[in-house]
Subunit: 310 residues, 2 copies
């Protein structure tokens, strides 16, 4: 393949030391993951792992308590009291979000029929950003960003920060799980959650709390018929996907806990994946982008109970 | 609503003159579109309008002959000879693309059973970029971009350009329709097409020809179950969505032509929509992003045969 010498030289400057002897062929994600070390993977803390059962299969969500601690705690409370069991996916808006919770919790719903929140709190402080903490991991992405002065990864989540304000926040990338709310900034409590299913709606950053990220089963949320009503709400109960149950892995017997691992975002393999995506060069790709945007990077997870599941 | 004075002042600096007297409440897209003038909308040339009939409804695609003229011409030839009729959606890969064409046109297919291309060409020059032409419309987006030196809109399509190379190209944003190909850069001929259904895979820019954009019915392509095989291919014929027909609007009697309009990307209303998305401020949004990325901007279309369809 005719690699243009200038591009190749630039790529070497940007490449990791381990990749300096890479062939002209950029390794594929599968090749990179096959060479990863066990220590580069982590099991999410079972206290942060939600297992949502849908008729079509299982969705796993990792909570981000360092970024929305009170929301994470409230969601755990809701889950422990089986709040979500029997509720539904109430809304799928194309190129935006899939949202689940109480079907009566929208403008056309009957609010007198809302499921009680039990011992969970009804309002929470708006944990949209947090003070930047040098003790939290931060793997910068040097490619720039339209929305924030700095972007990178922290604890397995795409994030942004602003040195001027001293604040860090999680970014609304594909698969991120946010906390729906009403107009008031304290009205989000975790009883209604959404996952991003389209182009990253980064304008939501710093306006909503992000509770975590879908690490398995995203396609069960994104591959649904879009709702016909405004904002993608389903008009009829029959259109909604029912939620069988949502459980915290920590509350399940070991045999029922998802055995899932997420690639550490501060690992060498993750850095190599980012570089391979930034400068993909093989017989197919003739013009490496040279850049990669924050939300263009998938964070791999693997299910130890499935073969080859990345 | 407590608008922070500094942000409000900055916003006014960035705002269009027509918006300088805007209220603290950012107009919604619906409000802006309701005030648009008829002259701000255009009917796509029927020579550039594809009408694809699926069991679930109609998908409309506008071709971009100024950016991929030979591909547009070849696709018209394929369509006129009813090449796509009876073929199928063969692949839906989550957060990437939905692809349609001949089910035998993949690695596991039986290539001896490929549908003949008729009088269409089997190979085409790689129209991945084109020389920047000052005669083509260009509405710049000043917000910056991770991938390209300049981005903006041209003839209703999101685009990027590089003054250094003198090249312009269409960008792989949500809903853009690209031409699948094999490894060789001239192997794309329009017989297999894909639509972007997730985070914009901008790394494909300048590596594949973009033929156009879905202007109606995108949810019929994006809201499909993801294929279970690698790269989202469907394993079984029964999983594939069959294509009833694809027709060029110009070839249809007037009564069957889609009556659809697209908002001009060089109109004042489009500029106001971009600004409203960049700096949304109302009772819900407390922290306007101040920026909007190229692929975060939806280009409105309206179907004159449907009520209120944006």
């Amino acid at each position: 393949m005719p690699l243009r010498p200038l591009v190749a030289a630039l790529a070497l400057c940007l490449a990791l030391p381990a990749l300096a002897d890479q062939p002209a062929h950029t390794p594929t994600p599968s090749e990179l993951l096959a060479k990863s070390k066990p220590s580069e993977w982590r099991r999410p803390d079972p206290q942060n792992l939600l297992q949502m059962q849908l008729p079509s299969g299982r969705v796993l969500i990792e909570l981000a308590p360092d970024y929305a601690p009170q929301h994470a705690a409230n969601i755990r409370t809701l889950v422990r009291e089986h709040y979500f069991d029997g509720l539904a996916i109430i809304r799928v808006q194309d190129n935006f979000v899939t949202q689940w919770g109480d079907p009566n919790d929208d403008d056309s719903g009957d609010r007198s029929k809302l499921k009680p929140l039990g011992s969970a709190r009804k309002t929470l402080p708006p944990e949209y950003t947090r003070a930047t903490d040098p003790k939290l991991p931060w793997t910068p992405l040097p490619d720039g960003d339209v929305y924030a002065p700095q972007v990178g990864f922290s604890e397995g989540f795409p994030a942004a920060r602003d040195p001027a304000s001293g604040q860090t926040w999680l970014a609304h990338c594909y698969g991120m799980v946010g906390v729906a709310r009403d107009v008031g900034p304290e009205t989000g409590n975790g009883s209604s959650l959404y996952a991003v299913i389209g182009q990253a709606p980064r304008g939501l950053d710093r306006n909503l709390a992000i509770a975590g990220r879908v690490i398995e089963g995203m396609e069960l949320l994104s591959g649904l018929p879009r709702g016909p009503a405004p904002m993608g709400f389903y008009k009829d109960a029959a259109q909604r996907v029912p939620i069988g149950s949502v459980r915290l892995a920590a509350d399940l017997p070991e045999a029922q806990r998802a055995r899932v691992e997420v690639l550490r975002t501060d690992s060498a393999t993750f850095a190599a994946l980012v570089e391979a995506k930034r400068n993909r060069r093989d017989d197919f790709y003739r013009n490496p982008a040279g850049k990669i945007d924050l939300c263009g990077i998938a964070i791999p997870a693997r299910d130890l109970d499935r073969r080859g599941g990345h």
